[in-house]
Point group: C2
Chain length 334, copies 2
């Protein structure tokens, strides 16, 4: 790896389930491109996943190597990128504890991202203290490795702003320039709706097509997909816009001629849902094929080795950086 002149990018997933094509379209595809331009660190965010799954660690544990494998199958290249497990970097926890002093309780509570997520999670009276504090942990995730850039959705912007507040405050408090402010990299937001037409593809809603689904599963799921609810017969003119099946075609079917033909005939009422879905299944199966092939080249035990190696590399770097950070804080006593 000759990453010396490249800027560092941090990206990652919460290991709470297998990745689906929504993840691919929304972040993984972009990540795979970014690893050529940046020195990419990929964080398996198990500690963060535990903030709202602390009572179900098996769910987190069982997905650690799964998400890594999913990413590698999509093209994340262990030769180019460093894959590591959050809980195995104690320095992140140490920084979290230090950073907790640099932001006020009110600042954390005012953070719009946290406010929204707490509301969405419906914790009621029992929001875990750790969940409230997770923007601080995230600042530690980002800053411990000297990240330059973080790819994010627009709704995550306030959270990253808190990271920069921490970096600035650390530098001015301890009269150093050790912590770099980061730049958010706002991608063109690509969100794939669920197979049921819901705004988001999400495991908990059972409306996903997973990257490791078999052909049979894909076919069955596409068969059940929502289309134009107002159309009753194949000979009725149908709607293309907002129609989940066509949204998927646009995202996943590279045969533009075929997609256009289907759209035209759908609008006129000269094609049935069966054909549209059949062609979609085929496109998705074709799309998943190279992912499946690459997955076969990276069985879980190989993935495990890759993750261990990446984690060790990250550990070594984290130790060096925390040493410097403690020196700046003047709490290195030996």
């Amino acid at each position: 790896m000759s990453n010396l002149n490249k800027k560092r990018i941090l990206t990652g997933d919460r290991p709470t389930g297998p990745l689906h094509i929504g993840h691919y379209v929304g972040s993984v595809k972009n990540r795979v491109l970014l690893q050529n331009e940046y020195e990419l660190f990929y964080l398996i965010a198990d500690v963060q996943a535990l903030t709202d799954n602390y009572d179900n660690p098996e769910k987190v544990a069982s997905n650690i190597f799964q998400v890594a494998q999913d990413n590698i199958a999509c093209g994340l290249d262990p030769e180019k990128s460093t894959i590591f497990i959050q809980s195995m970097i104690p320095e992140i926890a140490e920084l979290t504890v230090f950073f907790m002093n640099l932001v006020s309780h009110n600042e954390v509570l005012r953070n719009p991202t946290v406010k929204t997520e707490i509301k969405e999670k419906n914790f009621g009276d029992s929001t875990p203290f750790g969940f409230v504090g997770y923007p601080v942990s995230q600042a530690a995730d980002i800053l411990f490795i000297g990240t330059d850039v973080v790819p994010v959705g627009v709704d995550q912007a306030p959270m990253l702003e808190l990271t920069n507040v921490v970096a600035r405050r650390f530098n001015s408090t301890y009269k150093t320039d050790l912590l770099k402010e980061i730049k958010p990299l706002f991608g063109v937001e690509k969100n794939l709706i669920g197979t049921d037409g819901d705004a988001k593809m999400s495991k908990s809603k059972g409306n996903t097509i997973n990257l490791m689904d078999t052909d049979e599963e894909v076919i069955a799921k596409v068969k059940k997909m929502y289309t134009d609810p107002t159309r009753i017969h194949a000979t009725d003119p149908g709607k293309v816009e907002g129609n989940p099946v066509f949204i998927y075609h646009d995202f996943l079917n590279p045969n533009l001629a075929e997609v256009n033909d289907l759209k035209e005939r759908y609008l006129k009422g000269t094609v049935g849902d069966v054909e549209v879905k059949d062609k979609l299944s085929k496109a998705i199966i074709k799309f998943l094929e190279p992912i499946r092939e690459r997955r076969a080249q990276f069985p879980l035990d190989k993935v495990k080795e890759i993750v261990l190696e990446g984690t060790k590399r990250t550990q070594a770097e984290a130790r060096l950086r925390l040493d410097k950070i403690k020196e700046a804080m003047k709490i290195k006593y030996f």
Copy 2:
């Protein structure tokens, strides 16, 4: 050390200034006795001190070895007890982060000890998030080493209760009995008032007699001590009860006959403040003498070695225990 059958006790100080005779009377004396009965771990709580001194780490850093030396000078025996630095045990930070998920935000805020301390510290709108969370850090301090007993003041009881909540919840969530609930050891509360008669001896109020004060400093401080404010002449009958000088005599002058004689004469108005104070100075100087001698045997570089050794011993144990804890949490992946 043959501590195998002994119960473990955790005690410690925030390294924010030299210890004074109030500390001695309130905790150090007791600690020195306890090290014979228990396997004693002495925590230099620099991370906790940073929660409200994050912008003044020099103050914390410069007192790390000082508080250790003060304790050793008072009789804390490095052959019997383990002295270690909090910030050098990353496992405490790791546990803090995990434990933050086991208590709700509301539970932390409801804690009476924290409520009171936040009020006392006058943070206004900007209470550091870390300060709000410090009962959780404290749970980690206590539980990481398998503590059985913690000596505390009564006002600290709710804080320890939170530690036990964390232990119980951890055990029930992860179906283990790894974390032991702790027993508070309520000593007879001994609080020494300040030289100005204030309820508490406290560096910030400038009303302390420090363990490392010179004879001249002791004499000068005692001279300025408050006595009975209603007494004008040495021939006026004076009050003994509540009189700071006599409170000090009771705590620090082992010559009971002398103290009784002074009290009797004070009540009758046949002794002046000068004599009472002179005898108090002498008593305090005599009390400080063995502490000074022991300090001379443990210069700071020797203390540094002791602390490093104790910290290494604690690190080794912390690693083993965190390994088991992660196993119980099912997040040990390799």
